[in-house]
């Protein structure tokens, strides 16, 4: 959807970021929210909020009640967790390397200091 809405790459990325913000600040840790509540909470128009919710719903990140007219939505926490867990795993692998690099750099700094003293 993002791609079809915005052929320009920067606009796509901005759309993606706003969608993440909507999840993080609008829905995480809360119960149900209606579109108008979200419009009030974010400085975005109703059609914009609605298009984000459509994407999030099709990705399974939120569920919406069909019976009520306002179609209130709420986060599907397990789904979001699966996504954030994945990024955390990527970070962990890199961070393991980087911690060793920290130690190596500290050593190199020390060596340089000693050489300067000589």
């Amino acid at each position: 959807v993002g791609r079809r809405l915005f052929p320009d790459r920067d606009e796509q990325l901005a759309f993606r970021r706003r969608g993440q913000e909507l999840l993080e600040f609008g829905l995480q840790g809360r119960g149900e929210a209606s579109v108008s509540e979200l419009v009030g909470r974010f400085s975005l128009t109703q059609p914009t909020i609605s298009s984000h919710l459509k994407v999030l719903e099709s990705a399974g990140l939120i569920s919406r009640r069909k019976e009520a007219q306002l179609r209130p939505c709420k986060l599907v926490p397990e789904r979001l967790k699966a996504v954030t867990d994945w990024l955390e795993q990527v970070q962990e692998i890199w961070e393991g390397n980087y911690k060793r690099l920290d130690a190596l750099l500290a050593q190199l700094k020390q060596q340089e200091k000693q050489e300067r003293k000589k």
């Binding site: 791609r3 796509q12 993440q20 399974g60 699966a82 990024l87 970070q91 692998i93 690099l101």
Partner: protein, 163 residues
């Protein structure tokens, strides 16, 4: 220093950022000298980097291999250096060979770009891995070292790509 931050700026990219408490000339050495690099770039706990050969000139080749201490399993990657701007940027191609031949890591090489930026003795390093296609990126993160990520990753695909 704050832990590494990984993000997905587009559906074919992975970006990892980290800062180091050292001047760029030392960080640069850790990336350019094989004997230094293999000391830190060993990947997961219980793995080492027995092969770290690199000719860090434009057009030069490199070969990195990792081995599990526990069962001797190996995997690695090779590539060609595309750009070297001292203390600023390294870019190279990257092709992986994997433990399980049925794992597809994608036929096209990915492009890895590492940029360095020093501010007041702190060096910020950004690593961008740009895959030839989304399918390649997906494959790269569901094999070898990244066991168990596949399920999460497939979910993520559906999400971030559409957003």
């Amino acid at each position: 220093m704050k832990p590494a931050e990984a993000s997905l700026p587009s559906d074919t990219e992975v970006l990892v950022k980290r800062s180091f408490d050292a001047p760029v000339k030392l960080v640069w050495r850790a990336y350019m000298e094989p004997d230094l690099m293999r000391r830190w770039c060993s990947g997961l706990p219980g793995w080492s980097m027995p092969v770290c050969e690199m000719d860090m000139r434009v057009g030069g080749k490199y070969r990195w291999r990792w081995r599990s201490d526990e069962n001797g399993q190996e995997f690695g990657c090779t590539g060609e250096v595309l750009e070297v701007s001292p203390h600023t940027k390294i870019a190279h191609t990257q092709i992986w060979d994997v433990i399980d031949p049925s794992d597809s890591m994608g036929s096209e090489p990915s492009i890895v770009t590492v940029t360095f930026h020093e501010v007041n003795g702190i060096t910020n390093v950004a690593t961008s891995i740009k895959f030839a296609s989304k399918a390649d990126r997906d494959a790269a993160f569901s094999t070898g070292m990244t066991d168990g990520m596949e399920t999460s990753y497939k979910l993520l695909d559906g999400v971030l790509v559409e957003m």
